[in-house]
């Protein structure tokens, strides 16, 4: 089992030192109905500098604690995530850590726009880290298309073609000429190539988009579900497994990963108090407004049809918490804020947040692992939390929670992609594949 942890690296004030500023920032997000697009005159570069260093220090400490990986991501134009160019952070970690895998979930290929440049950046990270890179790819959230002016109507084509070109640039002897539909290069011949051969292992994160899940199964890329609700995640696991069977292999735990929001502290009370801060500003439900989450042509026709009929979908990114017009008075803002935090008990009930002492979180983590059986598991720590409490959480996860999760992983035979290559278990054409997720465990919850 591969165990790592993740944080969005959100822009926030220390709630103990500057509670009023933190509250004002949240008010701005609620009023704007979105983290994305919040006016950037609110950005304090000094704070940004402190936070980015803090986040890197946490990752470096994780290396000492024995985590298998550290996971990064990338978002643009939003206080939700300070990692605007994730490869820069990855480059720092390549040199300042020794053992951990540097897991990038993922680089937004369509919005970066130059796959050959990406191939070179990532090859350098793999070389400097001496072969510890796990690159992953994303289409980029809808809002990312605006932040980079990438044509959303070409998003999936850019994604698939871009990835093919990156892998070609790594594996096909150059120089060669590339004439695709969207990308055209006279001379592909990167001198700097990855250390891992034929190329670094690729994982794909997602929010249970069926198109991406099927594509991953075809490519034999492990699929990492980003804190999605358990029931639709099981459905998507099954879809992957069925597609894998059509491709002639039996999917296993090595094909799946899961990201789990957690908060661990020395007392239950403290963990709950800090865990609740995950809801800050509406969390992912306020990531971006629907019209920015779903720009024109970004979704397939099938997904649009589903969206048109889905008024109260669970975990729908960009589902507005409120639909008002940005002219709410203070009382209305307070009512919205209250409603946001009132959602916390339900998120605990749904295991969308697991908070507590190391002892109390283990049985809940076991439930998630029993249902989804992921070979890759990532903790997710977020919310405006004082640096010392974040660091303590990382420490407790590394010293007390991780060893026990590892034991559960062994007991449940949760093999990871380094132990067994994804797609390496053949399946005869006529046979029905074994499901990887455990539907009975889900029903028993």
């Amino acid at each position: 089992m591969h165990i790592m942890w993740f944080t969005e690296r959100s822009y926030h004030y220390d709630p103990e030192k500057e509670p009023e500023k933190l509250r004002e920032l949240e008010t701005e997000v609620i009023r704007h109905r979105s983290f994305f697009g919040l006016r950037n005159e609110l950005f304090d570069a000094k704070l940004g500098s402190e936070l980015l260093n803090q986040f890197l220090d946490e990752k470096i400490y994780s290396d000492e604690l024995g985590f298998d990986g550290v996971m990064l991501n990338e978002h643009h134009g939003t206080p939700f995530c300070l990692g605007a160019v994730m490869d820069v952070e990855a480059a720092v970690l390549a040199k300042t850590t020794r053992r951990v895998k540097i897991v990038l979930l993922g680089n937004p290929v369509p919005t970066v726009g130059n796959p050959v440049r990406l191939a070179e950046e990532l090859a350098m990270i793999d070389l400097i880290s001496r072969g510890r890179l796990v690159p992953g790819w994303v289409r980029g959230a809808g809002s990312e298309q605006f932040a980079n002016n990438a044509n959303p109507a070409n998003n999936r084509e850019l994604f698939e073609e871009g990835i093919d070109l990156i892998i070609k640039a790594w594996t096909q002897p150059g120089p060669f000429r590339y004439e695709g539909k969207h990308f055209h290069f006279r001379f592909v011949n990167p001198w700097v190539l990855p250390l891992q051969k034929p190329h670094p292992p690729i994982w794909i994160p997602g929010l249970v988009s069926p198109d991406t899940v099927k594509w991953c199964a075809q490519k034999r890329f492990p699929y990492v579900a980003l804190a999605t609700k358990l029931e639709p995640t099981v459905e998507l696991w099954n879809m992957y497994t069925q597609q894998a069977a059509r491709e002639g292999y039996q999917a296993g735990t090595e094909n799946f990963g899961y990201l789990q929001p957690v908060f661990v502290a020395d007392t239950q009370e403290k963990a709950e108090e800090l865990g609740k801060r995950f809801m800050f500003g509406g969390a992912f439900a306020h990531f971006a407004r629907p019209e920015w989450m779903f720009p024109p042509g970004y979704n397939s026709k099938e997904a649009t049809r589903r969206l048109a009929r889905l008024n109260n979908g669970p975990n729908l990114p960009g589902k507005p918490i409120h639909a008002a017009g940005g002219d709410e008075d203070d009382a209305q803002i307070e009512a919205i804020r209250k409603a946001i935090y009132e959602g916390y008990p339900q998120s605990r009930k749904d295991l969308q947040m697991i908070a507590g002492t190391p002892d109390s979180v283990i049985p809940q983590l076991r439930k998630v692992l029993e249902v989804l059986r992921p070979g890759i598991f990532s903790f997710w720590i977020d919310g405006p939390i004082p640096p010392k409490d974040r660091m303590r959480c990382v420490e407790l996860l590394g010293k007390e929670v991780m060893p026990r999760v590892r034991e559960i992983g062994k007991e449940l035979d949760l093999v990871d992609p380094f132990e067994r290559a994804p797609g390496s278990t053949p399946l005869a054409a006529s046979s029905e594949p074994e499901p990887v997720a455990n539907a009975e465990a889900l029903a028993a919850l």
Binding site: F146, N151, P152, A153, E291, P296, G297, N299, K301, A308
Partner: protein, 265 residues
């Protein structure tokens, strides 16, 4: 979309590999109607008025939901080439044309490439040229309904607009808008909704009388773009409606129909 079904029939015409859906209504000399960026809004009062003495031919742009998408069309100039082929193959060259907003841009591209395709051209607040003052309203950063509301000066006081787009958005409407928005993004995401070479090519058009119709308070394509169109097209006249937004055909129907009828007579 809220469509008044009466008034037209639907036919399919093969253009290359594409089965083009054409709505057809009225009687008399044919008039080509090129629809706007959110699709064909439906058979409206102005259609009924014009259909009294003209046969309206309304091709549904490929990829907007009604006609299948043609993968090779990747720019508005390509789309103009597609419609030009349709006219030539159907022996319709020399037809009169009226284009609305995005459809006006398509018509202008067709004329720039071959002025003989049309006898007379009416452009109603066409996109396609970057206005020297103001900005083309970006249809991609807001929901379709917000963009629509900005297209008339006073939505509440424009009855036909309310009949078309009022009430709750249905799933079918949402899907139709998303089809249209996706295809327009494919063709006109960047540079947004215009082609910098268009004014230069329009300067080469001669022998094509053109009527430019604009609302003075157009909130989608600022009037200054109309002035550029007027200067570029030698044989053109710009008529501006006061107290009117981007949809004079809906906001000022009687005056609109009178202007168009007089010009096309």
């Amino acid at each position: 979309m809220a469509e008044k079904v009466s008034g037209f029939t639907e036919e399919t015409v093969k253009v290359g590999a594409t089965s083009l859906v054409v709505l057809k209504g009225g009687s008399g000399k044919p008039l080509l109607v090129l629809h706007e960026e959110l699709g064909f809004p439906g058979w409206l009062r102005w259609n009924a008025e014009m259909a009294k003495n003209r046969t309206l031919l309304i091709p549904m742009h490929p990829g907007f939901g009604r006609t299948e998408k043609a993968e090779w069309i990747s720019s508005v100039r390509d789309l103009a080439g597609f419609h030009s082929r349709y006219l030539r193959e159907q022996k319709l060259a020399g037809i009169d044309v009226i284009g609305f907003s995005f459809g006006g841009w398509v018509a202008a591209e067709m004329a720039a490439n071959d002025p003989n395709l049309f006898r007379r051209m009416v452009l109603v607040a066409p996109t396609g040229i970057r206005p020297p003052n103001g900005e083309l309203r970006d249809m991609f950063v807001t929901p379709a309904r917000v963009y629509l509301s900005a297209s008339v000066r006073n939505p509440a006081a424009t009855a036909e607009f309310g009949a078309l787009f009022g009430g709750d958005e249905t799933p079918e409407q949402f899907e139709a808008f998303e089809d249209a928005r996706a295809e327009v993004a494919r063709l006109a995401w960047q540079p947004y909704m215009h082609n910098p070479s268009l004014p230069h090519l329009l300067e080469g058009v001669s022998g094509l009388p053109t009527l430019l119709l604009w609302g003075r308070e157009d909130g989608v394509v600022p009037l200054s773009a109309g002035e550029v169109y007027q200067r570029a097209l030698k044989d053109s006249r710009l008529v501006v409606f006061d107290n009117c937004g981007h949809r004079p055909e809906v906001e000022k129907t009687s005056e609109f129909v009178a202007q168009v009828n007089e010009f096309l007579a």
